[in-house]
């Protein structure tokens, strides 16, 4: 992954993310606006409906109230003194005379009251107090025997009629009819709602004095515009059951405010969204600017890292390799040092003997008593010694030669080889070595490397025994094999390993010895040899007398 493609990718990501966020925001804003609009609209609608129902309520209340009121007034009038009698006798003068005062009061109470009439049982008008109004419910064909209420839309008049039949001894004697102008209802509603109403009847033209309202729709619930204003039409149907037709009370409610409110809500939402949008764009822009800057910085360091990684890895590998080589070299040097030390020990005795033999010969010669026999014996002795020394060198060379392939070897023999090399060094330092075994055990591996490990461990034990000046220093090697597992234990009585944790002694450069004698590599190499090359295990622990090194091989 290279840097430019990453950068490109990040830029594209910025745009994408910005678009995504903006898109989301716009969607949200739209949703919000729509919700808000719906909300406002619903509120307006509700207020409208409320308004409508209010108007209807007023209308109906007025209708009921006026019906009851005039029914009562009618009964009261009929029950008044002489009314029924006059009605019975169809005495119009008497009726007018008796009703005049009441009428005056009623007329005063309700200016929309048009007339009060008395009819006889055949439907003939006896008297009309005001004689106003052309419409009547009562006719020869229609003579209601109970109280009736109805509208009549005739003769350019829209009226509401209440008829009250009069009985005398359960016999109908006539009817009283009140006629009220429908405008009364307009008036009632206007009283409550402040709306001016108009009556639309099927046979008379709509009379609207206000020119602005003339163009408006007459259908209930319609919204129409006139000039800068918006109106909603409320219509109340007045049912004329006798004529089988309806007339309408029309009210035009000015809803410009609400409409404006609605528009305002939309504008508000729009501008709010726009504001938020710009803020978000700015925030996103700067945010991304910062982010990208950081990204670029980390990218740059990453790129640098990327660039140098391989180099560094190679360097590290090289370093490691060199370290390993150095370690190997040091280990080799240490081994060589040990080997030379051991050879020196091994050779010291035969060398001294050889020198003694030569000195002896020389003295004999000086004394003149050197005979052939002594000469031969001494030469033979010298030769044997030299051969022995030569063999020792061969042993050492063999011992430190490298193994080429894995083979099955006898552990006891390998241990003996190692012991042979260090034997003199141990003896010279009065260290006793016990090698205990029950049987010869076979191991698959590298015999020389194995023997070198044994030698290394014995050498370490020797060094520590000498350094600590242990009394009666002893090293015990126990070789056992059981159930395909070969175990070699090398124990000393040197007091144990002082490194904590003990496993640390297997790390390179960790040494418990003095700087002169230890490089700290021996055990590291030993562990490597046993565990990596030979699939065995090497561990160390302390017992009550000293350190124990345990090598395990599982077949």
């Amino acid at each position: 992954m290279s840097f430019p493609s990453l950068l490109h990718h990040s830029l594209s990501t910025k745009t994408k993310t910005m678009f995504l966020v903006l898109g989301l925001f716009i969607a949200m804003a739209t949703l919000f606006s729509v919700l808000r609009y719906m909300d406002v609209k619903a509120a307006i609608e509700k207020s409208r409906q409320d308004y409508t129902s209010q108007i209807h309520n007023i209308y109906h209340t007025a209708l009921v109230r006026i019906g009851e009121f005039y029914t009562n007034r009618g009964y009261a009038n009929l029950d008044s003194y002489g009314i029924k009698e006059a009605l019975y006798h169809k005495d119009s003068t008497k009726l007018r005379e008796l009703s005049q005062q009441r009428w005056n009061i009623l007329k005063q109470e309700n200016p929309f009251l048009l007339d009060m009439r008395f009819y006889d049982t055949s439907g003939e008008s006896i008297v009309a107090i005001e004689n106003k109004g052309k419409n009547t419910l009562i006719s020869k064909k229609h003579f209601p025997l109970s109280v009736t209420f109805d509208f009549l839309f005739r003769n350019n008049e829209s009226t509401y009629h209440i008829t009250i039949p009069a009985y005398h001894n359960n016999q109908a004697i006539g009817t009283l009819e009140f006629t009220i102008l429908s405008d009364y209802f307009l008036h009632e509603i206007e009283q409550f709602s402040g709306l001016k109403g108009y009556i639309l009847s099927p046979f008379s033209p709509l009379l609207i004095d206000d020119a602005k309202l003339k163009k408006l729709s007459t259908t209930h619930g319609d919204i129409s515009h006139s000039g800068a204003k918006t109106y909603i039409t409320h219509a109340i149907h007045m049912q004329s059951s006798i004529l089988q037709c309806t007339s309408q009370l029309l009210f035009f409610q000015d809803i410009s405010d609400q409409q404006e409110k609605l528009l305002n809500a939309i504008y508000e939402a729009f501008f709010l969204s726009l504001g938020m949008l710009s803020i978000i764009i700015i925030a996103l822009h700067y945010g991304f600017e910062v982010l990208i800057k950081r990204l670029e910085e980390s990218e740059s360091s990453l790129r640098h890292l990327n660039h140098t990684l391989e180099e560094r890895v190679n360097q590290e590998i090289q370093k490691r390799y060199e370290n390993e080589q150095m370690l190997l070299h040091q280990s080799r040097l240490a081994s060589m040092g040990e080997m030379i030390g051991n050879i020196a020990h091994q050779w010291r005795q035969p060398l001294t003997e050889l020198s003694a033999t030569l000195v002896h010969l020389s003295f004999l010669h000086d004394l003149g008593s050197l005979n052939t026999q002594t000469m031969q014996a001494s030469l033979g002795k010298a030769e044997t010694l030299i051969l022995h020394m030569s063999k020792t060198i061969d042993d050492f060379r063999n011992f430190f030669a490298s193994d080429h392939e894995e083979e099955l070897f006898c552990a006891y023999e390998a241990i003996q080889k190692a012991v042979m090399l260090i034997d003199s060094a141990l003896k010279n330092n009065h260290i006793t070595l016990h090698l205990e075994t029950t049987n010869s055990c076979l191991i698959l591996g590298y015999p020389r490397q194995f023997a070198q490990v044994i030698l290394n461990i014995i050498g370490n034990a020797k060094d520590i025994l000498l350094e600590r000046q242990v009394k009666e220093p002893t090293i015990t090697i126990t070789l056992t094999c059981k159930d395909n597992t070969t175990c070699i234990c090398i124990a000393d009585n040197g007091g144990g390993i002082s490194v904590d944790p003990i496993e640390k002694i297997f790390e390179p450069y960790v040494s418990t010895k003095h700087a002169i004698s230890g490089t700290g590599i021996g055990l590291y190499m030993s562990k490597t040899i046993i565990e990596k090359n030979s699939k065995g295990s090497l561990r160390a622990y302390n017992n009550k007398e000293g350190a124990v090194f345990e090598i395990l091989f599982s077949a």
Partner: protein, 230 residues
């Protein structure tokens, strides 16, 4: 051959070494010069021989089983301050050397040794024993000297040879000068040949005194003789 080697012909040496081959080789060299070589294979054996035989010289290996050379040397020094001891060791370690010097050794011989070193060690031993000056002569007083190698005693102008027995006795006294040596010890000196009586010893001392300046051999009454050299 070096003249001083003849001095050892009447001496006995204790040699301690655990390596058998080496012990035999070195012992056969020693046998060329010494009257008797006692061989010990370890420290314990060496100390026993030392008790019994009172050798004139001790040659020790440091590394030995049972009792190492230095311990052995300490034991010897408890009994005898003057017996010359040569240490023979493969140890070039300073530690051993310093410890040995403290125990008053006369030579530290490093294995393996050359003929020169070996001779040098023996020479140092002889010197240690006789404390001679120039030309191996030991001054007895202003005029008289003793030549231990040729067993001659006298002045520049005239010398008298000592008999074998006189020489043996005088060497013995001289090597342990200023120490009173009991009669019994001196009687043993000739043990190999015959039982030497006190009277015979007295007669021998009398003969010896004639050849020596006055006051060299003093009689400590009832105990023994003492060689006093000013």
């Amino acid at each position: 051959m070096q003249p001083y080697l003849s001095l050892f012909a009447s001496m006995r040496i204790l040699y301690a070494e655990d390596e058998e081959g080496l012990r035999h080789s070195v012992a056969s060299i020693l046998e060329l010069f010494f009257e008797k070589v006692f061989q010990a294979k370890d420290g314990e054996e060496a100390i026993e021989i030392f008790y019994e035989q009172r050798p004139d010289i001790v040659l020790l290996d440091i590394c030995m089983p049972k009792m190492d050379g230095l311990t052995l040397l300490k034991e010897i020094r408890k009994m005898s301050k003057r017996v010359p001891v040569i240490i023979m060791s493969a140890h070039t370690d300073q530690n051993y050397l310093l410890q040995s010097i403290e125990l008053n050794i006369c030579k530290y011989l490093i294995k393996p040794f050359s003929k020169e070193h070996f001779l040098d060690a023996l020479k140092t031993c002889a010197q240690w024993m006789y404390e001679w000056g120039e030309g191996y002569n030991i001054a007895l007083d202003d005029a008289f000297f003793y030549d231990p190698i040729n067993a001659l005693i006298g002045t520049k102008d005239h010398t008298t040879p000592l008999t074998k027995k006189e020489r043996l006795l005088f060497d013995y006294l001289l090597r342990q000068k200023n120490r009173t040596i009991p009669f019994e010890e001196l009687e043993l000196l000739f043990g190999n040949e015959q039982v030497y009586s006190k009277d015979a010893l007295k007669a021998l001392v009398k003969e010896l005194r004639k050849k020596l300046p006055e006051g060299i051999i003093q009689n400590v009454f009832g105990i023994g003789y003492c060689c006093v050299i000013p």
